[in-house]
Amino acid sequence: MTEQLIMLGLILAKLGLIFIVILTLAAYLVLAERKILARMQLRYGPNRVGPFGMLQPLSDLIKLLTKEDFLPAAADKWLFLIAPGLSALTALLTFAVIPFGPPLEIFGRTLPLVVIDLNIGLLYFLGLSSLAVYGMALGGWASNSKYALLGSIRGLSQLISYELSMGLAVVPVVMMARSFSLTEIVMAQAEIPYALLNPPAFLIFLISIVAESKRIPFDMPEAENELVAGFHTEYSGMRFGLFFVGEYINLIILGSMLTVLFLGGWHGPWLPGVVWFSLKVLAVCFFFIWVRASLPRLRYDQLMHFGWKVLLPLALLNALVTGAILLWIGQ
């Protein structure tokens, strides 16, 4: 009985820790993005609240919480209220399958550093990443505004353009690791990460997750200089904040997925596994911010053209070639 209680306590502690770390990281990612983006544009970025602006996320939170929660008169009330939560919730749920460190030995027990090691973890991720677009689509639809609707329609058309190539880019990974479980995929990369073993799949997945994150250069659903703010035009206060935080949690999730699938997860010399994992995820997040500073927005027809006519055939071809090579090696 005490055995089970201790295990339960450990699991709850792990869950709470993940929850706090993810939310804090998402908040500070906003600050990091603003500061890095500012430095790349020869500005300082937020540096007034606290030393080096380190309390900026807190003041943003207070500001968002104390703002008016506005409900447009013509909005579909319940969908409008649910949509931001859906967006943040799906992003948070995805982290359940991501292994962020090697199993931990504590009190003589083995505690896997993953919330739940599903044997179809990869499919779970793909499923939730498709669900995540519902928050955006419903938010835009329920707002009953032209700009919001256009934004969510663009988001949906973007989804069908990148998701196929994203799904096909992870097929070679599954073939090489011979498993859908993310822990086993990481285990299979102990010697060499799949980014080096299969660079085309890595690049296709990278471009697809940039599209998935709905950030520049694929931020058509928001497109602030065309659609005001896209799907969250009508949102204010903490509901907007939930969309915002969901976007950044999503960024962490996508960085973690890239790390798990292609960058070797927690494997790395000298440092502990959790540190390596965090470093890799933060590096991917920096890359996302860097992309935002560097590239302009594509038109949505350009994204669809790129997704359907370039990425999809490449991903198919890559899956075919990888499969052929694996057969030839006789694995």
């Binding site: 500012a38 790349m40 020869l42 860097w290 992309v291 560097s294």
Partner: protein, 176 residues
């Protein structure tokens, strides 16, 4: 296919942004660091005095006529010695667009611009400046000019004694 061009156009910006990340920002951190404003910067308006310490303004209303947003108003009066001056003079800085046309119009160089741009406040009524807020104790940008010594009436200085003015003509004389 412009594959080379497209790849170059996609990858080159990354180098540019990375290089700029390690350069010093050009931001002036305002309340602590202040930039020297330009010599002819136009901000808060003042009413200056002439070298004798008298008010330069003769309440001719030319500035309020020139003002495109009608933010200047005044009431003209005449003093005991015949000198015109403004009984009250009011500039509404919440309206003022700092175009400087009033200073162009002023014949006595009384109204002048300064470089003091820190006028912001929470109460717009505090931006309505009265004469005592506007009047300063110096000559502004024209330290030597004295309207009453150039073209003034006889009240301030006797006729013919002013600079650039010749002695009065004697109408009874035959020769010029």
């Amino acid at each position: 296919m412009h594959l080379y061009r497209d790849l170059r156009g996609t990858l080159q910006p990354f180098w540019v942004t990375l290089r700029n990340m390690f350069r010093k920002p050009v931001t002036v951190q305002y309340p602590e660091q202040r930039q020297q404003v330009a010599e002819r910067y136009r901000a808060r308006l003042i009413l200056t005095r002439d070298p004798d310490g008298e008010e330069r303004c003769v309440a001719c209303h030319l500035c309020s006529a020139a003002c495109p947003v009608d933010c200047i108003s005044m009431q003209a009066t005449v003093a005991e010695d015949g000198r015109r001056y403004a009984a009250w003079f009011r500039i509404n800085f919440s309206r003022c667009i700092f175009c400087g046309l009033c200073t162009e119009a002023c014949p006595t160089l009384a109204i002048q611009v300064t470089g003091d741009f820190e006028l912001a406040g929470r109460d717009p009524l505090k931006l309505v400046y009265e004469k005592e807020d506007l009047l300063v104790d110096h000559c502004g940008q024209e330290p030597d000019y004295n309207f009453y010594r150039q073209a003034g009436i006889a009240v301030a200085a006797p006729r013919g004694g002013n600079p650039t003015e010749s002695a009065p003509e004697d109408p009874k004389s035959l020769l010029p």
